[in-house]
Amino acid sequence: MSDQVPTRPAKIDGRRLRSERTKQLIIEAYLELAHELSPRVPTAAEIAGRAGYSVRSVFERFPDIRALQVAAVDYALAQVAALAPPRGVEGDRRSRIESQTLTRAQTCERWLPLWRSLIVNQGDSIELKDRVKKSRDWTMQRLELMYQPELATLSALERRQMLVALEAITDVESWARMREFFGLSFDEARLAWTQVIDRLLPRGSIHAASEDAAAGEGAASLKHPCRSPTE
């Protein structure tokens, strides 16, 4: 008895570890295939084949493909966060813009196929929609962090407008269009973001921001430029 008791938990742990490892390999196989086949969702047979397991093994670990999709998106989001920590937050305006656009460009370049697959296949899934929202919130928080000195010079409304515009301009599909539709190289596309963000952001102090606004061609009459077309 005393000989057998200690070995049992070790055996269970070993099984658990192998099961976790299998789960991880299935997720990685899914991500590889989702990247290659984007926006099509890979089939269970394709995933099993790539991971080197049976289809049954896949469904022993995930009740359905949607559950695997959610687990894979969570894993990818964790990777994005780990690989793209904020750099140079304390730097000057130029270096912060350089840093933010580089990080964002690398993220977009790497994750574009998976992002497209997620957007196209989210359907009515509350879990996937929630991940899309989390990812967008994360991007907004990063923009707020990186451009805090400039944003601090704006009113609450202006700050919100600025963040929405920055988010639109640095969206994943914005990157994709520059690269795929307009044929820009990585560096050219990144330079475009850098210069555009530099033009969008107010100068770094309250004094400079008011000068900046006054210098803006339409600034004086832009208080309420647009009403609904029905008005």
Partner: protein, 202 residues
């Protein structure tokens, strides 16, 4: 009734049926971006499935016809609102027109992107739509863009094109919960910042 009159009447009815089938297809896409089935389109249009395939060889041909119809309508709407006037007025006309097109055609645009697959015809239409958006930006902000060198000019046009994209509009409305006018103001303020000063008229 003479023979040409009878033929004309038949042609008109056939064209009307064709139009109703396209309308039904577009109405279904507004409800769900997935390609509707022939049965669903026929049901919505009030015709038989056979009627659809008498007018379109397959659903792909119907999809192309519907895309062309939507693009023609959007282009006609845009053309009816030329961006004339001072800087603010041009920004306002450009943005409100663009926002109205986004609001009206977002479901179709999403469906087009979702279902383009390997279709060269649909990809060409997406490309054409983007070219029209760019031409409109160049038209609206010609005076300001004319003061820039080639590279910053290109960057500015690209930035405005990205800013006024369908999905950018969708995010402002759906994710950030902005009203139509609020969302227009976001675009106008950003475009104002992106553009260089307007040159003085010589």
């Amino acid at each position: 009734m003479s023979k040409p009159d009878r033929i004309d009447g038949r042609r008109r009815r056939s064209a009307r049926t064709r139009q109703l089938v396209v309308d039904a297809y577009l109405a279904l896409l507004r409800e769900n971006p997935r390609v509707p089935t022939a049965a669903a389109i026929a049901d919505r249009a009030g015709y038989s499935v056979r009627s659809i395939f008498e007018r379109f060889p397959d659903l792909h041909a119907l999809r192309i016809a519907a895309t062309d119809e939507a693009m023609a309508k959007a282009a006609a709407y845009v053309a009816a609102h030329p961006p004339l006037g001072d800087r603010i007025e041009r920004m306002r006309i450009h943005v409100v027109t663009r926002a109205t097109v986004c609001q009206e055609w977002l479901p179709l645009w999403r469906a087009l992107n979702l279902n383009q697959g390997d279709s060269a015809e649909l990809k060409a239409r997406i490309g054409l739509a983007r070219q029209l958006i760019i031409r409109r930006i160049e038209e609206a902000y010609g005076p300001e863009l004319s003061t820039l060198d080639e590279l910053p000019r290109r960057q500015t046009v690209l930035a405005i094109e990205t800013l006024v994209d369908f999905e950018s509009w969708a995010r402002m409305r759906e994710l950030f919960g902005l009203e139509f006018a609020e969302a227009c103001n976001v675009w106008i303020h950003a475009i104002d910042r992106l553009l260089p000063p307007t040159p003085a008229i010589s």
